[in-house]
Subunit: 139 residues, 3 copies
């Protein structure tokens, strides 16, 4: 039983959902750990992680649009406005999605369903550079 | 330290919340790993996982009813309508709940609270056959 | 590869968000496991876990206020009213946030971002005593 770790950097172009499946699966395929548990962790509070449908790009747009309606930018409900109208909503959208994902690994591949992709959800309007920590534990 | 893995299949009768605690706990009790970490992963994008109250069945109905109101079937907000009015809501409901659960294990039992059960949340209106991957790592 | 486990008890003063970062990081720093995977699990269905911004206390208040508006105490939509108007909302708020968190550990520290804290989210109006299970697996 052993473990490996990687810090992945993703550059976003502002609010939206970015596929990271290929980068993640490539790293897993290169490890000497064939089966085990993969954990993804995002050390940010205004971007999050998501497993979602990978077939129709409309799904990702609809998901983002749903969150835009659920958590309103600049809502007077929020006291925390100093970092911009999209900052407090970004924290709430992060709380409603995932800061980490755990995926079993077999034969050097995350056991994703055929319609599943791994995504970074950028919640801020402006582009950001985001880190994701990958941790693989197994044998 | 070792690991075991199982693919569990659950047949749903359409949208609703299905208890899988007994199946999961039975499998864990049969493993030679007595303490460690249990991960459940669902390789689908229109069904999800949930830990929820196991005492009053009204809780599960209320939870489903809340989601029916939060994410409206056939909402014109959604571009992705081709797979039916309940498909895009199913993806959003999955994003708002869990694709995976991690539960510490001790004495061959998941360390659930006495009021906690493990559930599959089927988000599609029609019945489906769903897989869940169980992964246990420990000693 | 080895594992350690702790049951942490937190006393809440009613609905709100309580920082547990220091207690968690202190325990991790004292373990002989320097790198690995930390799992936090809450064995309750009306309190949950959260990673959130640790800088401006307004963020935590706004988050709580958002949930107060999203899930209405005593909403006639809910059949489950017998345990008080805040009980069913507490279950839903738990479902929308996290029952468990997984965080990679390096150099005896959880790999949190500099703006991230670990929080217990108490969803009931009255004070409660809550348990959190910490599980650390690594080497």
């Amino acid at each position: 039983m052993k473990q490996n770790r990687l810090r992945l950097t993703v550059t976003t172009e502002g609010r939206g959902i970015y596929c990271i499946s290929q980068k993640v699966c490539k790293w897993v395929s290169q490890q000497s750990i064939q089966s085990g548990l993969l954990t993804l962790f995002i050390p940010h509070t205004s971007a999050s992680l998501l497993i979602q449908e990978n077939a129709d790009p409309d799904v990702l747009e609809d998901l983002n649009r749903f969150f835009n309606h659920l958590v309103i930018d600049g809502d007077p409900l929020f006291q925390h406005q100093s970092e911009g109208p999209d900052d407090m909503p970004a924290h709430i959208r992060s709380a409603l999605t995932q800061t980490h994902l755990s995926i079993p690994v077999q034969e050097n591949k995350p056991s994703l369903g055929i319609w599943q992709g791994i995504y970074l959800f950028e919640h801020r309007i402006h582009p950001h550079k985001r880190n994701i920590i990958l941790h693989l534990l197994g044998e």
